[in-house]
């Protein structure tokens, strides 16, 4: 590029500086978004992996009832590919402060002398090991329970007497989510504390670290092989394993959700960048149309298309480079900030390591490259204008010849000639029409999709709550007679209905092997349970996605929930057989149905009749679900407390007790972050869309300075010219609106399927939010009217003289 041409480029940019500043601002905002999301995603992903790795998560946990002695443990350590092994226990109990509500407690137990090389946590306050009447809590549990360290809490082991204990300190466990989100308190103690609680001080889990000379492996198959060998070795020593847990290697339990949220944010950032690029392309296109004469003049004196194109490309590049340069500092600052917010939601410690350089390189490339690529469309089009087209364009300010659409519109007859003329203008500049309406359509459809999807999340949570007609449930420490349980419950004041369900942990059985589950050590994420509701249960109705529900006389049938084909037995479907270990025995059942069951974990439903035959004492059940006569969380809790008393008085041991409200809070905790992020992004995108419309309208006026001048010269009134511009703006807005409303239908569906499956392995219910549509309609129409009113004012002020001196 020669100095002379650069000079022209620089002066052209300067003469349009307000417009150029708008374009730079639009691109810069989106590049900030992209840089922020891209770097935040990289940082969180990196921190999540690091936090999780720092807990030295066990590759596998082998369950050995009764525990093992030092010799057996040494034999495990001696196995090939076993880097380390230790014995632990996990107690599922309950915890409360004073007479506050009982909360679920997962107590991770180790020997006081355990070297803490596997599944370890970082001590934050207090000391390890805690005394026999004390325990350490995960740091997020303190806020959740509302208790500071050093205070007393009441802890109960399943079926055990509630015991007062002291919270002697806090730890950070990089492998668990915040207590509030999971509605679970994570505690850390030794076998001595187990004794205090009246639970057997037995370490019945062998945590094994699998790997080779390079360190721990993330090869799930290799871990499986080694764990099976460990189980065989233990069996040979008379300590048969009942199961093996192998969580996804190296993956934090919330990695899937995190990646989904981050990808969604990033996707919106990229859409915003595309939108602003299209905006810039539209505006540049308008400016170029106004420069048709200049392009013609340059062509007439020997400029080649390539030369003209290069000049305008440099202009576009100047805009995108400037925008990106402006956007980098805030992007650099905001990325770690957002990552910090995310880290808090995920209970991660941030080490302050910056995102890898490649991330910033990608952001820079996108910021500079995407606007340039999009701008190529109008730039190429304008650069190809011939001298002849430029001469023809002198009268109207446009060089684009009319097509079929224009001729059809030209033939239209109607009452309002101004309106008709405006419509004709809309179609005459079809390129710009497509861009502006497309821009609005994209912004609008993303706005709608964002709000629809947020609505989908809420609907998913509500639906899953509605599917459960019970208000509270109590898990018992062992099986009790179903009839007695129901009677006790119904005798409790405030209980209107009650059902006793069979409930037991299960695992997929593979003959000749020890059962493997993919559950995490918290025994919740990716766990697998058998439930046996009474025939004709009134307390739950789950929608079938395939097959049928259980019939009362089924004895060889099982219904699985949607998580099983996704997690436990990939791809299993109706008609297949599944072999489960129930009460220590393998049982094979035919899958007759798959139900959609958001809000719970992997579950296999059996008939009560079948379950009774499988368990040791027929008629015994482990789960009590009740309906209360109250309809508020406090009321549910009050009835639950009374029921607990009744059961305790009858000598029935309780493992867990929760109200349906706890479930709702936990589900909302998992889902609301996503929904809120979607709403915020929808609003940002909507704003970009309206900004685009405004710029497009003002560009359109600039582009047609000559035309308006001619209209003036012909005696058009100010009102008439304003009417022309506003009608045109509103027409484009309506077109964009229709496109957006239509495009949001498949987009919402696709987005809901993707997000739901990614985050929870469950597609979202399809929700088309009417309020969102109304809001967007009002916003676009008002925005279009306002934007074009401003443009119209400028148009109506164009004088004949001004029009004639424009080249």
């Amino acid at each position: 590029m020669t100095a002379l041409r650069l000079l022209k480029i620089a002066r052209d940019l300067w003469s349009a500086r307000t417009r150029i500043a708008m374009m730079i601002a639009a691109i810069a905002v989106s590049v900030v978004m992209v840089t922020t999301f891209l770097s935040a995603r990289a940082i969180i992903s990196q921190e999540m992996t690091r936090n999780y790795a720092e807990t030295h998560p066990a590759s596998a946990t082998v369950h050995v009832p009764g525990g093992v002695d030092a010799d057996a443990l040494a034999a495990v350590r001696a196995q090939e590919n076993v880097l380390d092994a230790t014995a632990r226990a996990t107690l599922q109990g309950r915890i409360r402060v004073g007479d506050g509500p009982w909360r679920t407690l997962v107590l991770f137990v180790s020997d006081p002398g355990d070297p803490q090389r596997i599944s370890r946590v970082a001590l934050q306050e207090g000391s390890w090991p805690p005394p026999e009447d004390g325990l350490l809590l995960e740091r997020t549990a303190l806020d959740y329970l509302g208790v500071p360290a050093g205070r007393q809490v009441i802890v109960a082991a399943p079926g055990g007497t509630p015991t007062t204990m002291t919270v002697t300190g806090t730890v950070h466990d990089g492998g668990v989510a915040p207590a509030e989100q999971e509605q679970t308190v994570y505690g850390y103690a030794t076998t001595a504390t187990l004794g205090t609680l009246g639970a057997p001080p037995v370490l019945d889990q062998i945590r094994v670290l699998v790997g080779d000379s390079d360190g721990p492996t993330t090869d799930a198959a290799a871990i499986d092989r080694t764990a099976q060998r460990v189980a065989d070795a233990l069996a040979a020593r008379g300590r048969p394993a009942t199961g093996i847990d192998i969580p996804p290697p190296g993956r934090h339990p919330h990695q899937g959700q995190m990646v989904t949220v981050a990808s969604v944010l990033l996707a919106f950032g990229i859409v915003a960048l595309l939108l602003s690029s299209i905006l810039v392309a539209t505006m540049l296109g308008g400016m170029l149309t106004a420069q048709t004469g200049q392009i013609g003049a340059m062509k007439a004196i020997g400029a080649r298309t390539g030369q003209v194109l290069r000049m305008y490309l440099i202009q576009a590049a100047a805009i995108s480079v400037a925008a990106t340069a402006i956007a980098v500092p805030p992007g650099l600052a905001l990325g770690p900030l957002l990552a910090g917010q995310g880290a808090e939601l995920l209970n991660l410690d941030v080490a302050g390591t910056p995102a890898p350089g490649g991330v910033y390189a990608a952001a820079l490339t996108a910021g500079i490259g995407v606007p340039l690529l999009v701008a190529l469309v109008p730039l190429v089009r304008s650069s190809r204008i011939t001298v002849r087209q430029a001469i023809d364009a002198q009268g109207t300010g446009t060089a684009v010849p009319g097509g079929r659409v224009e001729r059809v519109v030209a033939r239209l007859r109607g009452p309002g000639r101004t309106q008709l003329m405006a419509l004709r203008n809309v179609f005459r500049r079809r390129g710009r029409l497509v861009l502006t309406a497309g821009l609005l359509a994209v912004a609008g459809s993303m706005f709608l999709t964002g709000l629809n999807t947020a609505g989908g999340w809420s609907a998913l949570v509500s639906r899953s709550i509605e599917q459960r007609s019970y208000d509270a449930e109590i898990q018992l420490d062992q099986g009790y007679d179903a009839v007695r349980l129901t009677e006790l419950a119904l005798d409790t004041p405030g209980v209107r209905d009650a059902e006793a369900w069979g409930r037991t942990a299960t695992s997929v059985h593979d003959p000749g092997r020890t059962d493997v589950a993919h559950v995490y050590p918290d025994e919740a994420h990716a766990s697998f349970t058998v439930l046996a509701p009474p025939a004709g249960t009134r307390l739950m109705r789950l929608p079938l996605t395939a097959g049928r529900w259980l019939r009362p006389d089924d004895t060889d049938a099982v219904v699985l929930n949607h998580l099983v084909p996704a997690q436990q037995v990939p791809g299993i479907t109706v008609g297949d057989d599944i072999t489960l270990t129930v009460a220590g025995r393998p049982v094979t059942r035919r899958v007759v149905g798959i139900v959609s069951d958001f809000g719970t974990l992997g579950t296999a439903y059996l008939t009560d009749r079948d379950y009774a035959a499988l368990t040791d004492v027929p008629g015994h059940t482990e789960l009590l679900r009740v309906v209360t006569d109250r309809h508020d969380p406090a009321g549910h809790q009050a009835v639950l407390d009374r029921l607990e008393h009744t059961l305790a008085a009858a000598g029935i041991g309780i493992r867990q007790s929760t109200t349906i409200d706890t479930l709702r809070v936990a589900l909302d905790g998992h889902v609301l972050v996503l929904a809120d992020a979607l709403i915020a992004l929808a609003v940002v995108l909507g704003f970009v869309g309206l900004l685009s419309l405004a710029s497009a309208m003002s560009t359109s006026v600039l582009e047609r300075t000559r035309e308006f001048g001619v209209l003036r010269a012909l005696g058009a009134t100010t009102t008439r010219i304003r009417g022309l511009v506003i009608t045109e703006g509103v027409a484009i807005a309506i077109l964009g609106l229709l496109l957006a409303a239509a495009a949001a239908v498949p987009l919402t569906r696709m987005f809901g399927d993707f997000l739901g499956t990614q985050a929870f392995r469950h597609t979202l219910p399809y929700v088309y939010s009417l309020p969102a549509l109304v809001l967007w309609t009002l916003l676009t129409l008002a925005g279009a009217a306002a934007a074009s009113a401003v443009a119209a004012r400028r148009a109506s002020r164009i004088t004949v003289r001004e029009a004639l001196t424009t080249l």
């Binding site: 020669t2 007439a300 020997g302 400029a303 080649r304 298309t305 030369q307 001469i391 080249l807």
Partner: protein, 249 residues
């Protein structure tokens, strides 16, 4: 007027411009419009040809075809040894930049470049003159058209006549053998247009070929040949400064 510019020799002997059987029709929904119905024309170096005729007679069409701005429906055009109708795209643009100096009634100077920079632009685009010599050459051309004192101004600060002179200087930038102008004096007063016409005559006298579409009656004093078009056909072709009566538009 000082003569700083020396004309390039015509690369071929014989006519500089030659057209054979030029036909140009435009398809319209209402039927075909014949703008040119079959024109044969030879112009030799140094001729100052004035193209006249009533409005709509095809003058602009003819000029556009000869300059390669439009493509003939049928017929052949050879200008300075090149078959114009066979050129396309950037080869046509580059050829035009070096061979033909164009002056129009509208869209002349680029508004964000000074007058001198406007004159330097064709040299820059076609890389015909070494970068260091462009400015002095532009000044020379501006002096030749008599507006050297305006060199540093933006076009908007010039009068209509000065702008037209600047455009002529720019058209001469690459020393084209042929100069074409479509109503270059269309929006100038008669004294100013007279001086612009003088300038063209001068350039023709120096050996450059000039083809000008015009409505000016006074063109008779300057042109060496008059071509009169009527309904897209050649209605008259007279040599010398005299126009036959009744042929004026």
């Amino acid at each position: 007027m000082p003569q700083v510019v020396t004309r390039r020799k015509s690369p071929v002997d014989g006519p500089v411009m030659s057209a054979r059987g030029l036909v140009k029709t435009y398809p319209l929904p209402s039927g075909e419009v014949t703008a040119l119905g079959g024109i044969d024309l030879d112009v030799t170096a140094g001729e100052f040809v004035a193209v006249v005729g009533r409005s709509g007679s095809g003058k602009t069409t003819l000029l556009n075809l000869l300059a390669g701005i439009d493509r003939p429906t049928t017929g052949e055009i050879v200008v300075a040894g090149t078959s114009v109708h066979e050129l396309r795209g950037s080869r046509l643009a580059a050829w035009r930049g070096r061979t033909i100096g164009l002056v129009f009634q509208f869209f002349q100077l680029l508004p964000t470049l000074t007058v001198a920079e406007n004159v330097m632009l064709p040299m820059d685009l076609c890389a015909t003159v070494p970068a260091r010599q462009r400015r002095s050459r532009a000044d020379g051309l501006l002096e030749q058209v008599g507006i050297l004192d305006q060199a540093g101004k933006l076009p908007s600060a010039l009068s209509g006549g000065q702008q037209q002179r600047a455009a002529i200087a720019r058209a001469l930038a690459n020393e084209p053998p042929v100069l074409m102008a479509d109503e270059p004096t269309g929006n100038l007063d008669s004294a100013t247009s007279d001086s612009v016409l003088d300038l063209f005559a001068q350039l023709a006298a120096d050996g450059r070929t000039v083809l000008m579409v015009t409505h000016e009656r006074d063109v008779s004093r300057h042109a060496t040949r008059h071509i009169t078009l009527g309904d897209g056909l050649m209605a008259g072709d007279t040599a010398g400064g005299n126009l036959p009566e009744g042929m004026l538009p």
